[in-house]
């Protein structure tokens, strides 16, 4: 299944870090995500200076680096995840890793490994020209973020550059599991739908319970992204927990669909 096909129905995107806590185990965690109900796997490349991530995912970066994962081994891990799960893959990585690799080479390698989208948290739309150029005509989408602080005009500008899906940041602040979702989320989804029609919207940052997932789908989003909640379970070594949590979020999303 491709990323585009996956978004025909509300999509659950689950995040794990490549190499956390080891290359082999990170593949198993990715499998557990998909077994439990995730449709898309977001696979991180560990980085030395992950300024846009919260403490939970920061520790995952450290563990990934500790396990010796670099851009070479990331693509090996990504291929294996793609082969074993069949799920569409996107990657989360910081721009210096792409820049150092060379944009062309990085995108070619994504295509070879079956990575269909790149989320680069430190590449806002105004700096994305070279990346958009390189991905044009490739099978790799550049996924942009939009936040509650992103105004309508800016959102339209992002919409012009966006492909794959739009990653909506559910609340101000960097990544981290939250107990409750900001009420502004529904408004954000509505605004994104109005300003950026034609690109699916997935909501992330702070999604940790089935209830959150249900409300996001009911707010009109096309997808739910969960990261920190899975990384916490990886940190605890709880493989079964990852599968169950994916199932819980999936269940929340399905219950929304049934009601509507």
């Amino acid at each position: 299944m491709s990323l585009e096909e996956a978004f025909a129905e509300p999509v659950l995107v689950g995040f794990v870090m490549a190499g956390d806590p080891s290359p082999g185990e990170s593949v198993e965690y990715a499998e557990a995500l998909v077994d439990g109900g995730a449709d898309v796997v977001e696979l991180g490349i560990p980085f030395s200076d992950p300024v846009a991530d919260g403490p939970t995912i920061q520790r995952a970066h450290e563990r990934g680096l500790e396990a010796g994962v670099d851009t070479d081994s990331f693509f090996e891990i990504a291929s294996e995840v793609r082969d074993r799960t069949g799920a569409p893959l996107v990657t989360l990585c910081y721009y210096n890793l792409v820049y150092r690799r060379g944009l062309d080479r990085f995108v070619d390698e994504c295509e070879d490994a079956g990575v269909e989208g790149v989320v680069i948290p430190d590449l806002p739309v105004e700096e994305s020209g070279p990346m958009i150029e390189v991905t044009r005509g490739s099978g790799v989408d550049v996924v942009f973020l939009a936040a509650p602080t992103t105004g309508d005009e800016r959102m339209r500008r992002i919409g012009d550059a966006a492909s794959g899906f739009l990653y909506l940041v559910a609340r101000a602040g960097v990544t981290g599991a939250r107990e409750s979702l900001d009420a502004a989320t529904a408004g954000l989804v509505e605004r994104a739908n109005r300003n950026v029609p034609g690109v699916p919207k997935a909501v992330g940052f702070g999604v940790s319970r089935g209830e959150h997932a249900r409300r996001i789908v009911e707010a009109g989003a096309d997808g739910v992204i969960a990261g920190s909640v899975f990384v916490d379970l990886v940190e605890e070594g709880d493989l079964a927990g990852v599968r169950e949590k994916a199932g819980e979020l999936r269940g929340g999303m399905d219950s929304a669909r049934n009601e509507s």
Partner: protein, 391 residues
């Protein structure tokens, strides 16, 4: 203008973009605002003690065979140039209607300068500092707290500056409405590098006037130490258009070499040894490995210990307007002792790098050189004592 040639830009998380745009707008507004300028000058004069003298260094000059003047940023209140910037940003925060400022700090210099500005301008001040640095720099933490700042030890990750930066960004992305993030150097996403340069360029503006007054001519060279580069850009900026004035940025050569296995550079010489990359918001020269993982840097001078450099300096170096050099830990320590003995001025270990570079300058090519003495060395005497004893 968000770029300096190929360098700079705004490689920041989406969540901060609106705050950066607001800041950019506010910067261009106050640039033409005489009232702001006057208020800042008043604080720089009455509180910070500007203008700082340009001091002739007779013994040094005699030994080296050319005239050496010291721009005395060590005499700014707090003992370093840092306050020029924090006062400016503090006032800007007030202009924006923000009553809270936050900052990260490594060894504590920028945190202390931010705490001063916060107290002087009546702004709530919160400083993030790696827990390891909090332990190592207990007196600086006490200093900040004395001035009413809240110091938050960051227990995450390596518990050092890197983690303090992340934590400050995390605070800011949740508090942009009422909070301004005071970055301590000419680094980070646009408009920070140009804004901090603007506040620090008072150094070169004064020095240029003073040297014209005292010597009736421009210097042959201006020399400044360079980590992130705020004192260097501040000293150079006014001279950039003076084509005959050599501008030399002296980086920390540390103990030299790189251990790629543990991702550690034993120096902080990003202009000399680094290559183009994107770090903490801007495209600049950085120290990284072949995959783009950023190396840890080293210097005996904590203020120079940084894996990147301001993008404007990268541009000035790339275009040949400034020259980059590096000086190792040992030479810097000798420079520290030499100025103390010869001139009765104890320089910061950071500034000691610029002083050590004087020893390499050819007296045939230079008659008159200004060194930016960016800070005083009182903060470093214990370090030097512990490293070398009384000698």
């Amino acid at each position: 203008m968000r770029y300096f040639g190929d360098y700079g830009g705004r490689f920041a998380p989406e969540i901060l973009m609106e705050a950066l745009e607001e800041l950019e707008w506010e910067c261009s507004r106050v640039r033409g605002d005489d009232g702001f300028r006057e208020e800042l000058d008043e604080h720089l004069g009455e509180y910070a003690g500007r203008p700082t003298p340009l001091t002739y260094a007779p013994s040094t000059s005699e030994r080296l065979g050319f005239d050496v003047y010291l721009k005395r940023e060590d005499l700014v209140h707090g003992g370093a140039h840092k306050l020029n910037n924090t006062l400016g940003q503090g006032l800007l925060a007030r202009e924006m209607g923000k009553d809270r400022i936050i900052a990260e700090t490594g060894a504590g210099q920028h945190g202390t300068a931010t705490a001063m500005a916060g107290a002087a301008l009546d702004l709530e001040t919160e400083v993030y500092m790696g827990a390891k640095d909090v332990e190592r720099q207990a007196m600086n933490v006490f200093r900040m707290r004395l001035m009413g700042a809240t110091v938050n030890p960051v227990e995450k990750g390596s518990r050092t500056l890197k983690d303090a930066i992340s934590e400050t960004l995390r605070d800011w992305s949740a508090s942009v409405e009422d909070t301004h993030y005071v970055i301590g150097s000419v680094v980070g996403p646009s408009p920070y590098p140009a804004m901090v340069r603007e506040f620090q360029s008072v150094i070169g503006r004064e020095a240029r006037e003073q040297v014209l007054e005292m010597e009736g001519r421009l210097p042959d060279a201006v020399v400044a130490c360079c980590g992130g580069g705020s004192n260097a850009v501040g000293a150079f900026h006014e001279f950039v258009e003076d084509g005959n004035v050599d501008l030399v940025a002296v980086e920390a050569g540390g103990t030299g070499g790189v251990d790629y296995g543990s991702r550690v550079a034993h120096h902080s010489a990003s202009l000399c040894e680094g290559r183009d990359g994107v770090l903490q918001g801007s495209k600049t020269k950085i120290l990284d490995d072949r995959y783009g993982q950023v190396l840890e840097s080293h210097s005996v001078a904590p203020g120079l210990d940084y894996s990147g450099v301001g993008p404007e300096l990268a541009h000035l170096e790339e275009t040949g307007r400034i020259e980059a050099a590096s000086v190792g830990d040992g030479a810097a320590l000798r420079g520290f002792r030499r100025l103390s003995r010869e001139e009765g001025i104890i320089p910061a270990l950071e500034s000691s790098h610029a002083l050590a570079y004087l020893e390499e300058m050819d007296p045939e090519e230079h008659d008159l050189v200004i060194v930016n003495l960016s800070g005083r060395g009182d903060k470093d005497v214990q370090t030097v004592y512990e490293m070398e004893g009384e000698r």
